[in-house]
């Protein structure tokens, strides 16, 4: 009888743990929504979502202006795109090399180094971007008669790509490594080369996990703040030119909230507005990716 009682208590305890995750998620959503609604009571949601200038201030008349968030979202998208353009292919190729080609000795050298890369604070990546990458990009730019500002979406994006690389490669490597060896043998046994086996059999089979790795990296990139502050700047330029300085949603949230502790003016409340939209965006991104994985399952079983 004692063990049954214990069993029930343990089960209840685990249920509570699981429940807390749900409750906290809902709590965060509600807080965010509440503050965001207060913000949208002051600034029209249309102006916010479609306004092209971001220069938030309050006129002497008491009117809040300059809350057009489009430049922030384009900045976020631009930097994230660059980051994923670097992180996805590099991460995947590193994963393929480590899982399929590397000798055990090479693996033992490369894996710990990659994992160290994952442990570096993003601040340090920021330093790397301004002191090393940005000057280098400027010099390269000069060769082609392009003028790069010290702060640019390009350098921030590339460094961010390097930042997500260890996540991407480590998760994808795990996914490839987990595939049964029989799949490889069978493909090789049919006369396929190693690369044909990877492209036609292993990558499709590991697709759901690769998608998950991509998503995790993507949300890391979208949420990343420090690198952007240091490498891409605070200027809310509406541009898709990667050579110019841009800013992102998260950076602006930080700068809006820094120093101010009273959540009663439009500027601080705007942070919640931004946060809320970001939340919705990543939420739908996740759903989209899940759909992709489901579709894949339907086709590949």
């Amino acid at each position: 009888m004692r063990s049954l009682w214990l069993e029930k208590t343990v089960r209840f305890f685990f249920f509570l743990c699981a429940l807390s995750a749900v409750v906290i998620s809902i709590g965060i959503g509600v807080t965010l929504l509440g503050e965001a609604l207060r913000f949208f009571a002051r600034v029209s949601i249309i102006d916010f979502l479609f306004g092209l200038t971001w220069a938030p201030h309050t006129l002497p008349s008491g009117e809040d202006v300059g809350f057009g968030a489009v430049p922030l979202f384009t900045g976020t998208i631009l930097i994230t795109l660059i980051a994923m353009a670097v992180g996805l292919p590099c991460g995947l190729m590193v994963a393929i090399y480590l899982s399929e080609y590397a000798t055990p000795r090479m693996r033992n050298i490369f894996k710990p180094v990659l994992e160290t890369l994952a442990g570096i604070p993003t601040l340090v990546y920021g330093f790397f971007a301004i002191t090393t990458l940005a000057p280098f990009l400027r010099r390269v730019g000069e060769v082609f008669h392009l003028s790069l500002s010290t702060e640019s979406a390009l350098s921030a994006g590339i460094v961010m790509g390097i930042m997500v690389l260890p996540y991407m490669s480590s998760l994808c490597e795990d996914a490839l490594h987990r595939l049964p060896n029989s799949l490889r043998e069978c493909s090789i046994g049919l006369g396929a080369t190693a690369s044909e086996t990877i492209i036609r059999v292993l990558l499709p089979a590991a697709f759901p996990s690769i998608m998950a790795a991509f998503l995790l990296s993507l949300s890391r990139a979208i949420g990343e703040t420090m690198i952007v502050v240091m490498a891409a700047g605070l200027a809310a330029n509406l541009t898709f030119n990667p050579l110019e300085a841009v800013t992102t949603v998260t950076v602006q949230i930080v700068s809006l909230l820094t120093g101010d502790q009273e959540f009663d003016n439009a500027k601080t409340l705007a942070a919640f507005g931004l946060g809320f939209v970001l939340f919705i965006l990543t939420f739908f991104l996740n759903i989209l990716a899940l759909q992709g994985v489901k579709r894949h399952r339907r086709i590949y079983g």
């Binding site: 029989s182 069978c186 049919l190 006369g191 396929a192 080369t193 499709p204 590949y300 079983g301």
Partner: protein, 252 residues
């Protein structure tokens, strides 16, 4: 008798450990040869030498000759990819690729570019599935994931996939050990039919199976072939007492 594959003095080392000791065996054309013997006797290692599946194993060393139609497959000029299109393989566990039934069978023809157009590929897929005795069961759901088939169907799909590249030899490594008796019976029946077109080598732990499907049997023990000969003879009048002991179930 003409041998499709003639193995001469084959020795195999995994690092310092020797797994095969100067093994010689002829595999008769368009017949089924069964390789039997206790676990770890080297029969699977031997089988995998026949289409060089062991190549990628680290620290492996192989001596001797494996002649396919008189040509040594370990000669430096041999293209391994092409070799494997002549010598196909079916594994112990049914392992379809996580793709559709159609794509599984089309995989080999695609990588070896064996067809001119889509309808030619359709033909290859249909012929292979028919030959594997699977066509009637699945012809209406070729686009479904292969992983949804039953174990026995999956194994027949793997056979279809192997014969889709029109090999001359099919190597089978305990193809029925993961299947139930009914599925096993179907595969055995299939092996008998496939003998018309293919030379088959099968590794099996099931002695009745060896007796049922093969014309020639080789008994392996600790890396040596103790005895090889006509299946009927080997099972009824074994010359070596170790063979006698194994087939009567005294050890193994």
């Amino acid at each position: 008798m003409s041998f499709k594959i003639d193995v001469k003095n084959l020795s195999l080392f995994y690092g310092d450990k020797q797994a095969l000791f100067k093994v010689s065996l002829g595999l008769p054309k368009l017949q089924t040869t069964a390789l039997i013997g206790p676990s770890g006797c080297g029969k699977s290692s031997f089988l995998r030498c026949l289409n060089r599946m062991n190549d990628s194993v680290p620290n492996i060393h192989i001596d001797g000759k494996v002649l396919l139609d008189g040509k040594d497959i370990y000669a430096p000029s041999v293209d391994v990819v092409e070799l494997r299109s002549h010598v196909g393989m079916v594994f112990q566990k049914p392992n379809p690729f996580p793709r559709s039934i159609y794509e599984n069978v089309a995989y080999g023809p695609r990588i070896h570019k064996l067809f001119k157009n889509k309808s030619a590929l359709d033909d290859i897929v249909e012929t292979s599935l028919t030959r594997a005795g699977l066509w009637e069961e699945i012809k209406d759901r070729l686009q479904q994931p292969a992983t949804r088939l039953s174990g026995g169907q999956q194994q027949r799909l793997c056979i279809a996939r192997a014969i889709a590249v029109s090999p001359e030899v099919i190597l089978m490594d305990e193809p029925c050990s993961a299947l139930d008796p009914i599925a096993t019976a179907k595969i055995e029946e299939l092996i008998d039919e496939l003998r018309e077109k293919f030379t088959i080598v099968i590794v099996t732990h099931n002695l009745q199976q060896a007796a049922r499907v093969s014309q020639k049997t080789a008994f392996f023990h600790s890396g040596h072939i103790v005895e090889a000969g006509e299946t009927g003879e080997l099972f009824t009048m074994p010359k070596d007492e170790r063979t006698q002991g194994y087939i009567t179930g005294r050890y193994g």
